[in-house]
């Protein structure tokens, strides 16, 4: 494990937002518990008492409430670093099933006060979207990141659906734009979530991205590792990238101690993001992760 800029242990948002990749039923139960944002803040205090003060946060509607609670509390605001993951893609997929992809983008722009732009759509079609694509994409990124204004932001990860679309379509401009917008607006680093780690790393090198920050599934079960666990392991041997590992427990399928030993033994892994749902669970999980991280550092 190389020393780097990512916090070694990052509190995940999944249980707070009803996401559970192993059991949707359990996801729904957790979602009900954390509907009360004070419970999320309580969990942050528990985590901080265990020396974990960094948090992954998708731009779920609940994220704005959490961010507001943190802003009001000087101690939390001082101590915590956020790793936003944007956009909250499930919302866009549902909306686009409902009203089509183009209307989703237009509605977002309307929300950002783009009435002028919408008038142009009426007059000249969507062509204006590309004429001014930088400003539009920057507006969309700003809109997503607005809740994190005046909080400490570590790396802002682009959601894997968008990263992987750009990867599949070979569109380096979009990836570069994310990095640029996040740097200019937030003075933070832009990184990429992906479901195709080896392919992305090869491509980023070809595109000329230096030392990219990448959020990807890494676990001993090989769950979610495309095209295969062994190909991902080869990529994870490299030291010219910084990987934040997610899905390290394969959504609770693996036991923490063996799971974290495996993950932190991968040279490219600097950091893990892991969800917890109770104080006991937090103590066990973070304890195992800190021990595994420390052993690799020696």
């Amino acid at each position: 494990m190389a020393m780097g800029t990512l916090d070694p242990i990052v509190l995940g948002h999944n249980s707070f937002f009803g996401v559970n990749h192993l059991s949707r039923e359990q996801g729904r139960q957790r979602d009900a518990v954390f509907e009360d944002v004070t419970r999320i803040v309580d969990m942050m205090r528990t985590a901080a008492s265990l020396d974990v003060a960094a948090m992954m946060m998708s731009t779920h509607p609940r994220a704005a409430l959490v961010a507001a609670a943190v802003r009001r509390d000087p101690e939390l605001r001082e101590r915590w670093t956020f790793y936003p993951l944007l956009p909250y893609i499930t919302k866009y997929i549902r909306q686009s099933n409902e009203k089509g992809l183009v209307n989703v983008v237009l509605d977002q722009l309307k929300q950002a006060g783009w009435s002028q732009g919408l008038g142009m759509v009426a007059r000249s079609g969507l062509g204006f979207l590309t004429k001014d694509y930088r400003r539009i994409l920057t507006t969309l990124i700003d809109l997503e990141l607005a809740p994190f204004q005046s909080l400490r932001v570590g790396t802002v990860f682009l959601h894997d659906v968008l990263t992987d679309l750009a990867l599949a379509l070979d569109l380096p401009e979009l990836l570069a734009l994310h990095v640029e917008a996040v740097r200019n607006r937030f003075d933070a680093r832009g990184g990429f979530a992906t479901k195709n780690l080896p392919l992305l790393v090869d491509r980023l090198r070809r595109y000329g991205f230096e030392r990219p920050a990448i959020l990807a599934q890494v676990n001993k079960a090989g769950f979610g590792m495309n095209p295969s666990r062994s190909r991902c392991e080869q990529t994870l041997q490299r030291t010219d990238l910084e990987v934040m590992a997610m899905g390290t427990l394969a959504s609770g399928y693996l036991r923490p101690v063996e799971a974290f030993e495996y993950v932190f033994a991968q040279p490219a892994v600097q950091s893990i993001v892991v969800s917890v749902s109770t104080p006991e669970h937090a103590a066990e999980t973070f304890g195992a992760a800190q021990a595994a991280a420390a052993r690799q550092r020696v």
Binding site: G18, V19, H21, L22, S23, R24, E25, G27, R28, D31, T90, I93, R94, S96, N97, E98, K99, G100, L101, V102, N103, V121, S124, G125, L126, G127, F128, L129, T130, Y133, V161, D164, L165, L167, A168, L169, D170, L171, E173, L174, K195, N196, L199, A221, G222, F223, G224, M225, N226, P227, S228, R229, R231, A250, S251, Y253
Partner: protein, 347 residues
């Protein structure tokens, strides 16, 4: 037989067009050559970022101008059948998104034309390619459940809680509401797993929508003797993603399958399976894919189709099987309207 990567075109550039275009572009077996969409300006971003890609407002012009090996059809539902028929005339293998058409009668000429020409074709019922449903199919086909008796199947997603916008909510374009749109996946899975349905009792209800169903219920009697119910809605709370669940009771065991897991219970050990519970969770069943954009099931589906184009092998989910889905959907609507059961057996 084409040499080198297959040259792919995409017709319709909404969410599904973007997805299939990306997969076709990301796979080694194919190259994305051209996209057609009549919506003014929707292709401008591509013109800018992908200057090598040919873009057309008129798909017929694309079929005429480009020498393509395969096409993905992702236009609105009511255009599927006529567009696919144009591909048949051009001798071009196609994958068309589900549902196959707004009305079953619209796709009958297409099914007949495909039967005549034996053109490679596929319909986008991708749930068949999800790890858990693939496993369920293996178990059902193995016969360990014994005679199948009773079925419960549900599909829920929290999507619509007000009047919807666009073609999806006009039955002339979409064919109907949740029953034909997302729930056609569930009906396709049921037919794939359990064979033909012979009788349908249905009930559908709009609530948030004016003209299409937001809730659908049906009792199905299968030719095999299996019977049970299906319940579907896009207007229920607490389902952030589309959740499918199928539960079947057999003489010697039962099986429940969702996207999360497969739960098998057997009275006695049989074949490769033990007595009592056997649970397969997603990590047990996971197999990596070449490139994952939007879910491994889409990659598997598109790879299967493109490989079929290269080898001339047939695809299991095709216009013929998709027509059966349309017939079941229409039987549910018909039964709901008439208050009577509807037979699907040939008279």
């Amino acid at each position: 037989m084409p040499s080198g990567p297959l040259r792919v075109g995409v017709i319709g550039f909404g969410k599904m067009g973007l997805l299939h275009a990306s997969i076709a572009s990301g796979l080694d077996v194919s190259r994305l050559i051209a996209i057609a969409d009549p919506t003014t300006g929707v292709l401008d971003p591509l013109r800018r970022f992908k200057p090598d890609l040919s873009v057309y407002e008129d798909y017929e012009r694309m079929l005429e101008k480009e020498s393509l090996d395969a096409v993905f059809i992702t236009s609105p539902t009511h255009l599927h059948a006529s567009t696919a028929l144009a591909c048949v005339s051009a001798g071009l293998p196609f994958l068309v998104e589900k549902p196959l058409s707004a009305r079953a009668s619209d796709c009958e000429p297409l099914v007949a034309a495909v039967a005549r020409t034996r053109l490679t074709n596929a319909v986008g019922y991708m749930a068949r390619h999800a790890d858990t449903f693939r496993k369920a199919k293996q178990i059902v086909d193995s016969g360990v459940l014994g005679r199948l008796v009773h079925l419960q199947a549900t599909m829920y997603v929290s999507q619509l809680f007000g009047a919807g916008q666009g073609w999806r909510y006009d039955p002339a374009y979409s064919g109907g509401g949740v029953l034909i749109t997302q729930n056609s996946h569930l009906i396709d899975l049921l037919l794939w797993l359990f064979g033909p349905i012979r009788r349908v009792n249905g009930h559908v209800k709009p609530y948030y929508s004016e003209k299409v169903d937001d809730f659908a219920h049906a009792i199905f009697e299968f030719r095999s003797g299996l019977s049970g119910y299906m319940d579907a809605s896009w207007s229920v709370r607490h389902h952030r993603t589309l959740d499918l669940s199928i539960s079947v009771h057999g003489h010697t065991g039962n099986l429940q399958v969702t996207e999360d897991d497969v739960r098998l219970y057997l009275d006695e050990a049989m074949g490769e399976y033990q007595s009592g519970w056997t649970i397969f969770r997603k990590p047990d069943l996971f197999e990596g894919v070449t490139i994952d954009v939007g879910g491994p099931e889409y990659t598997r589906q598109d790879e299967q189709f493109l490989n079929a184009v290269a080898t001339g092998r047939p695809v299991e989910s095709n216009v013929q099987s998709a027509l059966q889905v349309q017939r079941v959907v229409e039987a549910v609507y018909e039964s709901s309207a008439s208050g009577r059961s509807v037979s699907l057996e040939p008279r």
